[in-house]
């Protein structure tokens, strides 16, 4: 068995008084793609946010490891510098900060080195083309006035540019039309291929998974993982929904 990249051990997490994750454990090895499915309110997004270190949630017990290191209490920027990434369900708008400037800053933080502008621009243009994003978006304010689809594409653009070792995609396909889903999946596929990166795809639909290689599927219900299986589990959910697991 390959050494695990991410280990989540018996995590409990809450917002204020309300406990949302109730003893979740999960392990992901380098290059693996895991899918996390479940009905609304099951704790899918919470798990993604907790993994990234969102200050909104309090981890009350359990541990998270990245490789050998425990990162349960680490801040989000430190986790990102280790090679973690979260594609947000609702990417935030930051007026006055352009998309390319933002990515350049993030890359600089990650590599600790100056970024060569020419090479950066070239890579950015290529990635944008792959995602079918108009190049004008590069100089626009981060997510400001972007459509839902463009926001998600911008997330995947960051994924491709930052090349993390482990990425969590939180409902990246929700609210997108067919074309946008196709473009976004193409970007994810490229990430799988190029990076051999590990993925945790959080979704409640299966459209995004059609063209992607999936290794494991987990079903989360009421803050607990109730079933883990292979890609066939996705088809099962597709046909029968979550009823069997409730």
């Amino acid at each position: 068995m390959a050494e695990k990249l991410i280990r989540i051990e018996n995590i409990r997490a809450s917002v204020g008084e309300e406990e949302i994750l109730k003893d979740v454990s999960l392990q992901i090895a380098p290059g693996e793609t895991h899918v996390l499915m479940g009905p609304n309110g099951a704790g899918k997004s919470t798990l993604g946010n907790v993994l990234m270190g969102s200050p909104v949630y309090q981890v009350t017990s359990g541990k998270i490891f990245f490789g050998e290191d425990e990162i349960t209490k680490e801040s989000a920027d430190k986790r990102a510098q280790r090679g973690m990434f979260l594609s947000f369900q609702n990417p935030l708008e930051v007026p006055g900060l352009s998309l390319d400037e933002f990515i350049r800053n993030a890359l600089r933080q990650k590599t600790g080195k100056p970024i060569k502008i020419f090479q950066f621009k070239k890579q950015l243009a290529e990635a944008m083309e792959l995602l079918g994003m108009d190049e004008s978006y590069a100089s626009r304010d981060l997510n400001v006035g972007f459509s839902g689809g463009e926001k998600k594409k911008a997330e995947i653009l960051q994924l491709l540019m930052l090349q993390p070792e482990f990425a969590i995609l939180d409902e990246t396909d929700s609210g997108l039309d067919v074309d946008a889903v196709r473009m976004v999946s193409k970007g994810i596929e490229e990430y799988q291929k190029r990076q051999e990166g590990a993925l945790l795809i959080i979704t409640h639909s299966t459209r995004i998974l059609e063209s992607l290689k999936v290794d494991y599927t987990h079903i989360i219900v009421k803050g607990k993982i109730v079933k883990t299986g292979g890609p066939e589990l996705v088809d099962q959910i597709n046909e029968n929904g979550f009823e069997a697991f409730l």
Binding site: D77, V94, L162
Partner: protein, 487 residues
């Protein structure tokens, strides 16, 4: 292991992993950049007694070899100063005691036209601020004022050859432009305007005179830099700019001073005359030290089809009253004001803009951002006046405030006085805080919390920095970063 090394480096402020060399340089220099003091060697400086009396005003006038009308003007202004009350509607200025302000301090050396001849200590002060360097690189002319007098003035030959005049106001006062100065000096901001305009009229010294003849477009900016080094002193420079019909100019003004534990005063005056179809952009980055009372008056009058654009960054001073005014006299004239104000600990900055629409189909646009932090008070104050004659006028006011903590204060005081129903006036105000979610979003890409906040604040202020020449925009972002780190 590799990760650990990187983390260690990031925590060391000496190694700023910004990447861009110029930014590192700015970071390294700028901390002490504005705060260095040059001890005044008594023998090298002439300092008028503190306080404000007729004797002092006469002595200044004598010192400056004023023409008689100017001496009379000063004395009349002094009378007005004593008659006019201190404003009671803005930040309190009780801490300002005119009896403890030296209104005139100058180096014993005369103004130079060549940088090499400027006295060493003063030269060093400006070198640290990057002034002559900027001139070599990107300016058409530079004036540098140290305390009360200009120490250096130079304009590029090709610009001068177009008939552009850029000089200190004093020499203009006795030369071929005397009548022009007489016709314009404190006509737009009369000494009767308010107490500190009267003060300015009495003790003004230094500043610049710019004349751009009809149709001349000055392609690169002119800059004046004002440095008040003397402790317990006042700076009262007068900037007079006349841009004739169809001409075009960008003028940049920078100000700074070291911090002392006694009050300093800045009561400058800027008068801008924009001719028919002419265009003037007036940019300011002000970073006075935090013991400064900045009671500055700026006003422009615009003829038919002309345009004034103000770009203003206010970062320094203990207290500021600053409301650049545009008088849209000619039909179809246009004014824009874009400003950012950052009030940190111990600062009370009352800033904004005034628009006066007189001509038909005039238009004005105000876009301001104010930021407050660590107990700072930032007040946005504006007035839009649309006279009965200004049919078809359009005015839009957009002001945003960002409060970085709960001990700071932000107020918005917009006023509009509209005397015709054939006008279109819009106003939008927003007050906000940095969203924790946005900070988390940036952090999730590897950006530190402090950096994330600074990026959001810089973004908020970007309507202003976008309007500035590149090096000034970099300076402004750097000031924001410093303010974010401080306090």
């Amino acid at each position: 292991m590799e990760n650990k090394i990187q983390e260690g480096m990031r925590q060391d402020p000496a190694i700023n992993i910004e990447g861009e060399q110029d930014r590192i340089l700015l970071d390294g220099v700028q901390r002490e950049l504005y705060d260095f003091k040059d001890e005044e060697n008594e023998a090298d400086f002439y300092r008028m007694d503190e306080g404000l009396t007729e004797e002092i005003v006469r002595a200044i006038s004598e010192e400056k070899k004023d023409p008689e009308w100017m001496r009379e003007f000063r004395l009349k202004s002094l009378e007005l100063y004593h008659q006019i009350e201190v404003p009671d509607w803005g930040p309190p200025i009780d801490g300002l005691d005119m009896n403890r302000i030296a209104t005139y301090v100058r180096s014993r050396s005369d103004m130079k036209g060549s940088w090499e001849e400027v006295p060493e200590d003063i030269k060093n002060a400006f070198e640290k601020l990057g002034i002559p360097q900027a001139e070599r690189e990107s300016l058409a002319g530079v004036g540098a004022q140290y305390d009360s007098e200009l120490v250096y003035h130079n304009v590029r030959e090709d610009v001068a050859a177009q008939g552009v005049v850029y000089s200190d106001l004093e020499s203009a006062l006795t030369g071929e432009y005397e009548q022009m100065i007489r016709d314009h000096f404190m006509k737009l901001v009369p000494p009767t305007d308010h107490k500190f305009a009267a003060l300015h009229g009495a003790v003004w010294s230094g500043g610049s005179f710019v004349y751009v003849p009809k149709g001349v477009k000055v392609e690169i900016p002119l800059q004046s830099y004002f440095r008040l080094n003397a402790k317990g002193a006042g700076q009262f420079e007068h900037t007079l700019i006349i841009v004739e019909e169809g001409a075009d100019l960008h003028f940049i003004e920078g100000c700074s001073a070291p911090k002392y534990n006694v009050a300093n005063l800045h009561a400058g005056c800027v008068e801008l005359y924009v001719g028919k179809n002419a265009r003037l952009r007036y940019s300011t980055i002000e970073n006075w030290s935090k013991n400064m009372y900045n009671l500055n008056t700026k006003r422009a009058i615009v003829e038919e089809g002309g345009m004034i654009e103000w770009v203003s960054g206010s970062f320094g001073s203990h207290e500021s009253y600053l409301y650049p005014t545009s008088v849209l006299k000619g039909d179809g004239s246009h004014a824009e004001f874009t400003g950012v104000t950052f009030a940190g600990a111990g600062q009370n900055l009352d800033t904004g803009a005034k628009m006066i629409h007189i001509g038909k189909n005039t238009s004005s646009f105000i876009d301001t951002k104010s930021i407050c932090k660590s107990g700072g008070i930032s007040t946005y104050r504006s007035s839009v006046e649309i006279r009965k004659s200004a049919e078809g006028a359009k005015a839009s006011v957009n002001c945003g405030s960002l409060m970085l903590d709960s001990i700071s204060r932000s107020d918005t005081v917009p006023a509009a006085d509209v005397r015709t129903n054939k006008a279109d006036v819009g106003h939008e105000a927003k007050i906000g805080r940095i969203s924790d979610e946005a900070v988390f979003y940036l952090m999730s890409r590897g950006i530190s919390e402090a950096e994330a906040r600074a990026m959001i604040v810089s973004g908020f202020a970007s309507p202003v920095s976008k309007e500035l020449p590149l090096e000034y925009a970099a300076e402004m972002n750097n000031l924001i970063k410093l303010e974010m780190e401080g306090g």
